[in-house]
Symmetry: C2
Amino acid sequence: MFALLENIRVVLVGTSHPGNIGGAARAMKNMGLAQLVLVDPQDFPSADADARASGASDILQAAQVVGTLEEALIGCRLVLGTSARDRHIPWPMLEPRECGVAACEQAQQGAQVALVFGREYAGLTNDELQRCHFHVHIPSDPAFSSLNLAAAVQVLAYEVRMAWLAAQEQPAKPVPVVEQDEEPVTADELESFYRHLEQALVEIRFLDPDKPRHLMSRLRRLYGRSAVNNLEMNILRGILTETIKAARGEHLRQEKADV
Amino acid sequence: MFALLENIRVVLVGTSHPGNIGGAARAMKNMGLAQLVLVDPQDFPSADADARASGASDILQAAQVVGTLEEALIGCRLVLGTSARDRHIPWPMLEPRECGVAACEQAQQGAQVALVFGREYAGLTNDELQRCHFHVHIPSDPAFSSLNLAAAVQVLAYEVRMAWLAAQEQPAKPVPVVEQDEEPVTADELESFYRHLEQALVEIRFLDPDKPRHLMSRLRRLYGRSAVNNLEMNILRGILTETIKAARGEHLRQEKADV
């Protein structure tokens, strides 16, 4: 049954203070989580991290350090990013409690899930936030809203554990047998798709790379919440490939060659 | 409406690390709580506390420092103490979520509420735990169950805030008009009662001070969860006074004098 929690990783992006990494590791271990991924930490490994981890140093030792958020999310089917509430483009939001339930449900079906936390002072960039399927806001006093990083990890890990404990008490839902075609694509597959989509939109001159506006953001929000499956992704990718060919006139040349 | 949260105090008992006091203050302020009471802190005020408070130093400056838990609880009608699950005498337990709801309900009715947190390594003593009406256990992995102090404050303060936000969304329940007689007694009044009760039990030789066993604990558990009101307390105290008189034979002497 713990297998479920093993599918849930905590991703800390650009952390400044190693003490917060240690505090996050301790909070994770208290709540039964073990997978920690650090994106470009400023100071790690560190004695401060070990001190604050206080018995959870196994999690620090097993932590994966990567250079970009994209690498940290490889293989993830659900990506939940912590965020302040007001953003330029409103994104699908979850409460911490809903976040715990959603993470457990996906993990129970064998999907990899990421809980993503931003920098101590600056949070996640807009680009990083747009790689998340949902944003999670921890309700806090608007007059003093910024939680300590390890405290934020504590709250979400606690809600994951509460959802996990509640699921233990219920008769296990039969895990639906999902054909590979029907499985949602992973975060990295979605990123490849966005790059392909963007390229296609530039080629057809719908997107001006010098004035991109919020076009890609809006498209990311749409596909990000749609749980696109493998079959649908193949179709979308096929459309893009053909669109680009068409934009380059290759379609016409191909027709000529066919004649 | 914030008045409600102002009735809820956080009590930290015998804290070793001032950084944890600062972290607790920040977690409180994030969640809209402001009243911090420190029982016999080892190192306070402290630069470490200020550093970890990070913007919540107003809460540290306003913190009340007292010598005993009893002083910290003066005036409180509901006392909730954090505890590991297994104790010699099982006590009425609340989940953190129930704790948030109970604290808000009492605070809304104008009662003072205390959330009590123990020492980093040793928690609360049995004596301190028995001053609490309910114990709260934060569900954690049994293999690594001890949360950082500030993280524990974060979880309970978060549940208080969630309950408070939920209460805002519902039409306000009319606050029942409670006669003074019907108001539950405060924690300090209950302590005086226990002293009186213990004295009476010794006088009637029901309690052997050299072999007290768990008698007082069991009585504390009973009265602690019963929300004894002022009228009932007056009755109980009257019974004790008369019991002691009787045990000393004063009753007989009085009767003689009356003759």
